[in-house]
């Protein structure tokens, strides 16, 4: 998911990108949401979804820092690095974090 954002925000600095993503995520905390659903969603399902979302964010952040680290190293050593690794998979084999919907 965040790889896609990267592709779009190539021109922005890494800091801006990180803050942008965090703003989206934490911004949601301040919006009102409907407390009541038509059917019982199940607390297990809700907790699971928030865990999955947190994992996705955490992995996305890790990858941002990794790219930052790589460009730091390439600046030090003076070698050129590709700006973007492309859409590699996120966690696990089955879930694929791509921004193509």
């Amino acid at each position: 998911m965040l790889a896609g954002l990267e592709a779009r925000n190539m021109a922005l600095s890494v800091e801006t990108r990180i803050y942008g993503v965090l703003a989206i995520v934490f911004g949601c905390l301040f919006y009102a949401v409907p407390c009541y659903a038509y059917i019982d969603p199940g607390t297990g399902s809700i907790i699971l979804q928030s865990i999955l979302a947190s994992i996705a964010v955490a992995i996305g952040l890790l990858r941002l820092y990794w790219y930052r680290f790589k460009s730091f190293v390439s600046n030090l050593t003076g070698t050129s690095q590709p700006q973007n690794d492309g859409n590699d998979s996120g966690f696990g084999q089955d879930a694929d974090i791509q921004n193509d919907s």
């Binding site: 989206i24 949401v33 969603p41 399902s45």
Partner: protein, 435 residues
Amino acid sequence: MPIAADDFDFVRSTGLIDQLVAADKLVAEVILDKDILGEVASGVYHVLEHPRLPYISYPYEWSFSALKSAALFHLDLQQAALQKDVSLTDATAYNVQFVGAKPIFIDHLSFSRYSEGEYWAGHRQFCEQFINPLLLRSVLGIAHNAWYRGALDGISAEDLRNILPWRSRLSWNILTNVFMQARLQKKSGADIDAIHRAKSKRLPRIGYTQILHGIRRWIAKLEPKADGNSVWQDYASDNSYTDEENRKKRQFVADFVTKVRPGLLLDVGCNTGDYSALALENGAGYVVGFDFDQGALDHAFHRSQRESLNFLPLHLDAANPNPAQGWRESERMGFQERANGDAVLGLALIHHMAIAKNLPLGSAVNWLVEMAPQGIIEFVPKADPMAQRLLLLREDLFDDYNASSFESQLSRNANIVSSLKVSGSGRTLYWFDRT
């Protein structure tokens, strides 16, 4: 004003409904003048009219392929809706119907306004009514129909995790959607504080779409467990007919359909859909096929998908058709109530009912005759190799299983228009008409 009024207006304003109807993904909706209801109209916000579908079917009657197709359809629908800030309030499989092999959505009030941060309220239901039944077949090789028919609301994660093999935990998707969900539910389900905390949780839209996307990719790859060929899948090519006999049989059926021109034809024992397709080619409007073999059903469904046929194959155990079920035993119609066609085909079927299942011959014949005013029933004599196979390990109790007895049973409730012997072993097609 009803609670859902605001959602209703919002969704219509996005143009989503028109878009879906135009793409044949949602049954058409016409908003009528409320006065059509007269006095009852007070308190009513809208009166909607919808066209009818040719045949109603339920998830426990679908093949694996049909259920999978419905699941993917539902996820795609949600993603299309989210792009217009619309979400679905539930994810029940009964909101999907089929026209041929094409899924279509029928719950116009399931759409509501998406609020930033809302979680996927239908996730648990989606797991129970789509994913878990698919996993039952995909991981364990067990068809979902019998269990699903009994548990109308689907298969719970708590039950499924108890029978999944340990190695299925190695799949991230199964681990999260089955094992973790069940465990989290158990831990927090009765805990009031946890429930309150859950109410205030937020899910960013990105997270929501990624969960939908990930599950969609996963389900697209699910296939029935490969555990050898099914009994009937090879039947279409491996049976006791010669080519000439096949041709005669097909001609007889084609002539029948051409003459009768049924709007709705029921093909009981449709196998891979050869005769269903033949009927459509010769003027039948819509064919619903029934069979009990899973491999044949999947094959038939794929065929209908590939060739875009007006053909819907469904699971049926002729000796145990689905009864009316649900609240007051009338939420889901029984087989009997729906099995009313303009024509019926009962080919290579009667020997299975009478010999293999010990059903009285007259009773089996009447069951078919009651389904439509005209039809074709094939009588397979004991001498036939396929019937012989059924008798191999059994005592031959079937004294009255013969052609003349069959003819007299059939004549009781219908006229025999014509008959044709189509095989050397004595297989005979009978065209009946009870009008």
